[in-house]
């Protein structure tokens, strides 16, 4: 999926409860989304359910990541780090349908490029 370059102050999709990106089609306020941080994990919760897509770039190491409670390779993604390459590549977006989204990576997140897109599918 195309990458949306953040230019404003709300570039970290987990840092605000009102905006999950500052440019592009997700640049609008969604009052049904709330975010929280617990033990370093970032969580976005909503009323009803949504399909969540999250892309992360790490600041240390390269790894598979996924939404907690959806630890499935097919729904997982590959997080990149500039000087750590692997022989295996995949999508950089994990995907799941849920009412709460917590990524398996809780540290070393490049908050200038991370994003979470939510497409609500039920109330």
């Amino acid at each position: 999926m195309s990458y949306i370059i953040p230019t404003g102050g709300n570039s970290n999709p987990f840092a605000t409860s009102t905006a999950f990106a500052v440019n592009g089609p997700t640049a609008f306020s969604e009052p049904w989304v709330a975010t929280s941080t617990s033990s370093g994990y970032r969580t976005a919760s909503l009323s009803g359910q949504a399909v969540g897509n999250c892309a992360l770039q790490t600041t240390s190491g390269t790894t598979r990541f996924y939404f907690l409670n959806h630890n499935v390779y097919v729904q997982s993604a590959h997080a990149y780090y500039t000087s750590f390459q692997t022989y295996v590549e995949s999508s950089d977006e994990c995907i799941a349908t849920d009412s709460s989204f917590t990524t398996s990576i809780k540290a070393s997140i490049d908050t200038t490029t991370a994003r979470l897109n939510l497409i609500k599918v039920s109330h």
């Binding site: 999926m1 195309s2 990458y3 089609p25 997700t26 609008f28 306020s29 969604e30 009052p31 049904w32 359910q49 399909v51 892309a55 770039q57 390269t62 790894t63 598979r64 996924y66 499935v72 390779y73 097919v74 729904q75 997982s76 993604a77 590959h78 990149y80 500039t82 000087s83 390459q85 692997t86 022989y87 295996v88 590549e89 995949s90 999508s91 950089d92 977006e93 994990c94 995907i95 799941a96 349908t97 490029t113 897109n117 497409i119 609500k120 599918v121 039920s122 109330h123």
Partner: protein, 169 residues
């Protein structure tokens, strides 16, 4: 993706009736240009639809629009400079459809160009459609979809090949 103005935050422009994720039921699948991505299993992420798949060809029943997104996962033989491209293919019309997907192995693109989904919006309102996902190009020989430990111990660092079918109602 769906655009919603802030004045209508609880309404979607198109209703997602279901999201089905098709994927391989095996690992270590050698590919070359022209290979059809095999699919043997599915995950029902939202809704309750299911699809008939035969030799990688997906039948999309009539009566809906479908957004199909394909993301491949592969072992690359050399890492730096490795690249594969792929696209969805209309098997009835014998024509490639939608945007090409691109998977590259290199450092600098990061999220900007590290991978791209192959995407197509399929109109099956009046009749069912059949599509598959085909490898267009490989930068060399030796690419393997969905590697296991038999191909590369680093398979644990990435996800797996998937084709998402979003049905709109």
């Amino acid at each position: 993706m769906t655009y919603m103005p802030s004045s209508a935050s609880n309404q979607t422009a198109a209703n997602v009736a279901s999201l089905t994720i098709l994927h391989n039921s095996s690992t270590d699948i050698a590919i070359t240009a022209g290979s059809v991505v095999p699919l043997g299993s599915s995950i029902q992420s939202h809704g309750s639809d299911s699809y008939t798949v035969s030799s990688g060809v997906i039948t999309l029943p009539s009566g809906s629009y479908y957004l199909v997104r394909a993301a491949l996962a592969s072992y690359g033989p050399t890492v730096t400079g490795d690249q594969i491209t792929y696209q969805l293919y209309d098997t009835s019309g014998s024509v490639y459809v939608g945007r090409r997907g691109n998977l590259v192995w290199q450092e600098s693109p990061k999220l900007n160009g590290g991978d791209e989904y192959a995407i197509a919006l399929i109109d099956a309102l009046s009749s069912s459609q059949t599509i598959d996902c085909r490898v267009l190009t490989t930068s060399s020989a030796g690419f393997v979809l969905d590697p296991s430990g038999a191909t590369s111990a680093q398979y644990t660092y990435a996800g797996r090949t998937r084709i998402e079918i979003w049905r709109f109602s």
